[in-house]
């Protein structure tokens, strides 16, 4: 898609969004709506909490709406509306699967998305290899051309509204025709370098500021293992060992849960590109266990379930 078309597409979506927000507030379907507003810096956006019609004026939706808003849902009790790109919607689906959020307490305004941009105009980290353009979970969908579709209309089944409806998932998660075409992405691209040198090279840059953890939708533990002191997982010396424990530990905690929003890479002040670890695990989970994070809120996360016939890949003397 040409850049000009993209701009126009977001303009259409923004117009519809304002109308939907107004309607939501009028009908009382949400006490607060999580959306985007323009940031102080050019080409940036900040989260916007819409509580009244006055705030709708500040609403903005353009190609720089890369922040993942899902994490704010956990702090909001009561009914909340949220503007959700596919990665945000997948994060919400994971929250529901992990019992962090009740489906009825969140009204999801799904946005069809063809990728967001960094401030410098390049494609944002998570978007480069994203193949999910339609949110797998929504109450109302705003398409790229500005068309607004209710969930019931989308499935065309007339079934009661609810994510239990498989038709929604097949319709949404089935290999949609435009998957990955206009971004030139290839999700199953084999990894070029899996050496310890590469891993250490990335770790060298890390300053253990934990910005990636704070930005990640999946890191919502009240006390992170890195902050524990009795006993401490790492020494206060930020050597290779400490960084390794942090990054491998976090990768393990996100194994099969990462929704590939790319927030971790975007917020990193020193440009650590460690997401390739989790990406590899994600495609592994897809191949071996047929599990993709956030595609079905009714499904247990891959590490919270088991199958009697699970393969023992790499086990010693496995029969």
């Amino acid at each position: 898609m040409e850049l000009q078309d993209r701009g126009k597409m977001h303009e259409c979506q923004e117009k519809q969004l304002a109308g939907i927000c107004r309607k939501l507030l009028d009908e009382g379907k949400g006490d607060v709506i999580l959306a985007y507003a323009g940031g102080e810096i050019e080409n940036s956006t900040i989260p916007l909490f819409i509580r009244g019609c006055g705030e709708i004026e500040r609403l903005k939706y353009d190609e720089y709406c890369y922040p993942n808003l899902a994490k704010y849902l956990l702090e909001n009790k009561g009914k909340t509306g949220i503007v959700a790109k596919p990665c945000d919607a997948r994060a919400i689906a994971m929250y529901i699967a992990e019992n962090q959020l009740a489906r009825e307490n969140v009204y999801i305004i799904g946005m069809e998305c063809n990728g967001m941009k960094n401030m410098d105009g390049s494609l944002a980290p998570g978007c480069c290899e994203c193949s999910v353009h339609v949110p797998p979970l929504f109450d109302v969908l705003v398409k790229c051309n500005g068309e607004v579709v209710e969930r019931e209309q989308y499935t065309n089944t007339g079934a009661p509204a609810g994510y239990e409806d498989d038709a929604v998932f097949n319709a949404v998660t089935g290999e949609s025709g435009n998957a990955g075409d206009d971004n030139g992405v290839n999700e199953d691209k084999p990894l070029e370098d899996k050496s310890l040198e590469r891993f250490k090279k990335e770790l060298d840059k890390c300053i253990l500021c934990f910005a990636c953890r704070q930005a990640c939708y999946g890191c919502y533990c009240p006390v992170c293992f890195m902050d524990r002191t009795m006993p401490a997982w790492i020494s206060t010396d930020p050597g290779m060992g400490a960084k390794m424990v942090y990054h491998l530990g976090r990768a393990m905690h996100l194994a099969g849960r990462c929704v590939e929003c790319g927030a971790c890479e975007r917020v990193c002040p020193s440009g650590v590109k460690i997401r390739y670890l989790i990406k590899e695990i994600n495609s592994f989970c897809k191949d071996v266990y047929g599990y993709r994070a956030g595609m079905n809120p009714g499904e247990y996360p891959v590490l919270a379930a088991f199958n009697k016939d699970d393969k023992e890949i790499g086990f010693l003397r496995s029969e």
Partner: protein
């Protein structure tokens, strides 16, 4: 170490692998005990940590052991279906498969971390497993995982 262990000592450097072994209390730990009472010889390269179940094992234990300089890690639990807590090793199995894949992706050699099942009656198998793990880790040499790259 004598020749009965089935493992040749490293004559040049005197280096012997240090392997952390997490053993399930109900199967593998008893299996190790049986290997001992049966006078089966195996290399003295493992340091055993007893855990209630292989499902008790936080993947961080393994990561931490490697980061602290262990040359290898070995985890052994009950065979699937024999878990004392019914499903502990089932959850552990997925966890281990994914952890192993993760370590491989990070560039840590797959032979540094081993998972296996040993029941309480398999003293012979336990000795064999330890021999095999030790041999594989020995081939890799001392761990270079946490060596700094020279930059600070």
């Amino acid at each position: 170490m004598d020749n009965n262990t089935g493992c040749k000592p490293e004559k040049d450097t005197g280096w012997e692998p240090r392997i952390v072994a997490f053993l399930c209390n109900w199967c593998s730990y008893a299996g190790a005990d049986l290997a001992g009472t049966g006078r089966l010889q195996y290399p003295p390269s493992i340091r055993i940590i007893r855990v209630p179940c292989s499902g008790r094992l936080n993947p961080l234990f393994i990561i931490k052991a490697l980061a602290e300089g262990a040359d290898g890690v070995m985890v052994s639990g009950c065979h699937p279906g024999d878990c004392h807590y019914l499903t502990g090793n089932m959850y552990a199995r997925r966890r281990f498969v994914i952890l192993k894949k993760l370590l491989e992706t990070a560039g840590i050699h797959p032979d540094r971390v081993h998972f296996t099942w040993v029941s309480a009656s398999e003293g012979g198998r336990f000795a064999e497993v330890v021999k095999e793990v030790t041999e594989r880790v020995r081939k890799l040499g001392p761990s270079n995982i946490t060596e700094n790259t020279g930059k600070i």
